[in-house]
Symmetry: C2
Subunit: 242 residues, 2 copies
């Protein structure tokens, strides 16, 4: 017989691709780990990162991850959701992961609408949505990584294309009036606007290392504190008393 | 309006004191972080660590964390629960955290019974229970840490007393026929059975550092693979396809 986890506290959902899925990776400190720690005894952090996914494949998953209707009261409310895609959508056109810019924008809009229209109208508390821009690609590092594989692969990302997808995320956020964490710009500026220097923040030209995730976490917490103070960790009570 | 997190995958519950709560702490890799990573897209890891708690205070919380009855189908099943107490129960008698050895054994038994009797009999899948023994205390390190505080405090733990509480956890596990991870013995042996050498695994004589948590994780995964292979991560399908 299975015990069942009661809905004792609300949740934060981290929705995205491998950069989200890998945010608890051992050996360094990712942004998922930091959130799980700082929100301990306040909100559960649910990792809904899907390595390899683009927005096209992720939309049906998001539908499955959200409940609608009267049964909602037994499941944890999502107080905050981060939606972080673009790194795979921005693959070169010949890649199966590629999603056109227009379709990417459509899918992101659709995700925001899905979150806003799900749940039950019984809840007065709003789910806070944060869009995150994909990190800049260091194509030198990425090309070297792919060339070293067996068999070697050609580079599958382009610096300027990912920049366009990042800009599109910001536009969607403005239009939908949700907060955005512009990881692309934060990392690029931290790298002195030099693509090669991005290796300070990237493991393989695409995925983040601890220093990269630290910037993501810091920017996210600043954004939450400013835009959504109701879900800033210090403003949430402990579920069980200290 | 709040979006609500659907019950897309079952869960692992980490129930314990500060040594559980701190298992996602940034700056090093704790066992909570490792589990969250290895079980990503298979089981959610819910941190129910309660800093400062002993078993007496934790029993009512465990009741709140478990659901019983027909409504269970909407909430995540607990496939595995770790129950890790003793570090605070074993405080010296003058401490408000102290719980007598007899009461500690009673409470642990009660926790196992609560998990086994909760949920709904509709579920054929059993919740796997792992008891964990408290780590050995390095009283030299602990005393120095407490003496350095403002105001200074006297040492509140005893090496031999914690050993007795650890032994009691093993006895309860045998009697209740649940798996046990004997962290006390694993760490003491790794320290060459020398109390002072335990500083290799402890931050402050009481709480674990990365090397300490690594042993906990390794022992836990060995135990799961051997005793409960149905919840060993490699034997669980991905919730969403790769």
């Amino acid at each position: 017989m299975s015990a069942v986890a009661a809905n004792v506290q609300d949740s934060i959902v981290l929705f995205g691709d491998s950069i989200t899925q890998g945010s608890f990776e051992p050996g360094f400190t990712g942004f998922g780990q930091r959130l799980a720690h700082i929100y301990a005894r306040r909100l559960d952090v649910l990792n809904r990162g899907l390595s390899g996914y683009n927005t096209e494949w992720a939309v049906p998953v998001l539908k499955e991850c959200l409940v609608t209707g009267p049964d909602c009261s037994l499941s944890p409310k999502i107080r905050l959701i981060t939606i972080w895609f673009g790194a795979n959508d921005a693959c070169i056109k010949s890649s199966p992961q590629h999603v056109s810019l227009g379709k990417f924008i459509y899918n992101l809009n659709h995700m925001v609408t899905l979150v806003r229209s799900s749940g039950s109208s019984d809840y007065s508390v709003e789910t806070r949505i944060v869009l995150i821009t994909p990190p800049p690609v260091n194509t030198y590092q990425r090309a070297a990584d792919l060339a070293s594989r067996d068999p070697p692969k050609a580079c599958d990302r382009d610096f300027e294309v990912t920049r366009e997808y990042a800009a599109a995320v910001k536009t969607v956020a403005e239009q939908k009036k949700v907060a955005v964490v512009d990881v692309w710009t934060a990392l690029y500026e931290a790298a002195g606007e030099d693509e090669r220097t991005l290796s300070k923040f990237l493991v393989d030209g695409l995925h983040l290392n601890e220093a990269g995730y630290q910037i993501v976490y810091d920017e996210l917490m600043k954004t939450i504190q400013k835009e959504y103070p109701d879900v800033y960790y210090e403003n949430l009570p402990f579920t069980f008393p200290p």
